[in-house]
C-alpha cells in the first residue's frame, strides 16, 4: 500500500512538471514546490522524487515567482552546463544561471530537461520563450538565489530543499 502511495506521489510530482496548471487543480499529496514566507525576501521549498526532479522543480518554482509558467510557450531552448563545488552550490548556481538568462536576455522558461546531474555537475536543456510583455505578467524581479540555510535533504519519498531568493 505504502509502495503504491509512493508511486502515486512520484507520478504527481512528475505531472507537476509536465502540467503545472492541471496539477494545481488537483488535490494532491505533495506539490512540486511551495512558496514560503520570508520577511525581506521570498523562499520556496522544492520537492523531487530524485535529485534531477528536485533541480527541475526548483527551477519551475523560480519561473512561477517571476510569472505564470502556464503562459510560457516552448519556442526556444537553451543548453546550460554548470560545474560547481558541491551539490548544494550547484543548485544555487543553476538557479542563478536562469535568473541571469531572464534578466540579461529576457528568456522565460517552463520546462527543464536535466540530462545529466552527477556529483557537482549539471547539464540541462531549458525550454521556453522570449518575454512578451503583452502575454507575460511579471510578478516580481528576482535578484539572486542565496546560499542562506541551503541544504538538500533526503525525505521519506525523495528529496526536498528550501531556497531563499533575494527579490
Amino acid at each position: 500500500m505504502s509502495q503504491a502511495l509512493g508511486i502515486v506521489r512520484i507520478a504527481m510530482a512528475y505531472a507537476a512538471i509536465k502540467l503545472p496548471s492541471l496539477y494545481n487543480r488537483l488535490s494532491v499529496v505533495k506539490r512540486a514546490f511551495e512558496v514560503t514566507d520570508h520577511t525581506a525576501d521570498v523562499g520556496i521549498i522544492a520537492y523531487g522524487a530524485n535529485i534531477r526532479q528536485l533541480f527541475s522543480n526548483a527551477a519551475l518554482a523560480l519561473s512561477s515567482l517571476i510569472t505564470e509558467p502556464e503562459n510560457i510557450k516552448e519556442k526556444i531552448n537553451r543548453h546550460v552546463e554548470i560545474i560547481s563545488e558541491d551539490r548544494d552550490s550547484l543548485l544555487v548556481e543553476w538557479l542563478n544561471e536562469l535568473i541571469y538568462l531572464f534578466d540579461a536576455e529576457h528568456i522565460l522558461f517552463k520546462r527543464f530537461n536535466i540530462e545529466n546531474l552527477r556529483g557537482n555537475q549539471l547539464r540541462a536543456i531549458c525550454y521556453g520563450e522570449n518575454l512578451d510583455p503583452l502575454r507575460h505578467k511579471i510578478n516580481m524581479g528576482v535578484k539572486a538565489a542565496t546560499y542562506h540555510m541551503l541544504k538538500i535533504n533526503r525525505a521519506s519519498d525523495g528529496y526536498e530543499v528550501q531556497i531563499i531568493f533575494d527579490v
Binding site: 520570508h38 520577511t39 525581506a40 521570498v42 534578466d103 516580481m140 535578484k143 546560499y147 531563499i164 533575494d166
Partner: protein, 485 residues
Amino acid sequence: MPKWQGQFVKIDDYHWKIPQTYKEGMRVPGLIYASEEMLESIGEEQTPEQVANVAFLPGIVNFSMAMPDMHWGYGFPIGGVAAMSVKDGVISPGGVGYDINCGVRLLRTNLNEAEVRLKINQLLGELFANVPSGLGSQGKIRVSQKEMRELMIDGAHWAVKHGFGSKEDLDATEEGGRMKNADPGRVSDKAVKRGMPQAGTLGSGNHFLEVQIVKEIFEPQIAKAMGIEAVGQILVLIHTGSRGFGHQVCTDHLRVMEEAVSRYGIKLPDRQLACAPIDSKEGRDYLAAMACAANYAWCNRQCIVHWVRESFSKVFAKTPEDLGMRQIYDVAHNIAKIEEHKVEGQKLKVCVHRKGATRAFPPGHEDIPQRYKEIGQPVFIPGDMGRCSFIAVGTQKAMEESFGSTCHGAGRILSRHAARRSLRGKDVAQDLERRGITIKTGNTPSLAEEASQAYKDVTEVIEVCHQAGISKKVVRATPLGVIKG
C-alpha cells in the same frame, strides 16, 4: 519560522547586547539598537541569530551590530553593521548584499505644497514617462562595452560628463559619486551584459521616486544648511541601486568566496556569509568589482536626477535653477568601505560592512563636503509610502560607537507574500489617494507589498537612533506623489 530563543541583555533603554557566550564561535558580542517595545518583534524571527552569526567572521572588531530597522535577511541581517580589521579581517559580499550601493538621493526645491499639489498628476505622468522604471526596464541611455567600462570607473562623473547634472551634484554625493579602486577587469562579462541595458533605470521592488512635503523641522539651523527653510517646501527623494549589474557582481564573487572559505580555513555558521581575507586576491577582486557596481549605482542616480529636473522644468515652465533643484546629498546604504576608526583608543583601518545601514559621519569629518562640515553628514531615512521619511545628520557618538553608521529605513514586518495575501494593490492605491498621496506605477498588484502595513513605523526607528545618539533627526517629510517601478 521559530522564535529566537536567546536573551537580550539590557545596556540602556536603546542598546541591547547578545553576549559573546551566546554561541560558541562568536568573536565579539552582538549589539542591537532598539527600544524595549521593538525587542519582541525582533525576537519573533531569527534576526538576532543572524547578528550572532556575523560575530563569527574573522577580524570583526567591537560588536556585530544591528540598527533598529533590522529584519531577517540572508547571511547578514538587513540593518547589519560590522567592521573588520583590514590587517587580519575578512570581506563578505553578503555583508553588502546583491543590490550594491542601493541608496538614496535627496533634492530640494523652491516649490511649495500648494503649487505642486495642483499639478501632481501631470508631474507624476511626466516623471513616469521620463524615468524608466519597472521590472526589466531598459534605460534611455545606450552604452557600448567601452562606455560601460568608463562608467564603472567614473560613476556619477561619467553621467555629468555626458550632460546629466552638474559638478555641484558630485560634491554632494558620498565618495564624490566615484569609488577610486574600481577595476572593470574584475567584473564578469555576464555582469556587463546584465548591466548595460539597465543603466539609468529606477527598477522595481522597494525602489521609488517620491515627491515629498516638509512637515516638521526639528533643527532649523541644520535644515537651513541643507536648503530646507520652511514647512510645506517640496523635496524629491530617489531610491535605487545598481540593478542587475550589482546583483551579478555579488553572485559571481559569492561563488568565488564560497570556494575560498575552506582554503582559508574559515568556519562559518551560514554559507551565505562566505568571505575571504580583505588582503587576499579574492578579497581585493571583490572590492574592486564592488566599487564598479557602486559607481554604476551612483551613475544611475545621477542620470535619474537629471530627468527629474527636466520633468519639473517642463511642468512648472521654469529652469531647474529657477526652481532651486539642488541636490542635498546622496548616500549608500548597501556597501563596504575601508575607513579609519578608533578601536580601543587606537586608530585602526577597518572594512565597514553596511547592509541596510547608512554612513553617518559627524561634523568636521574630512570625508564630508565643506558645506556640511559644521552640521555633519546628511542621512536620509525613507519610510513606507504611506507614512513619512526623515532627514538626519551624523554624530560624534556614531563615530565612537557604530563605526559612523545609523539606520536606513523602516524595516519590513510583513513578508511580500503575506502582504499580497492580505492586501490588494488597487485598495492600497485608493487608500493613499484618499489621504492625499498620488501613486503612479506600472505594476499595481505589487503595491500591496510596499503598503504601510508591511513596514515598521519609521518614526520609532529614527527615534531609537536619535535617543541612542547615532544620528540626530532634522526634518520629517511626508509623501505627496510616488512613482513605483
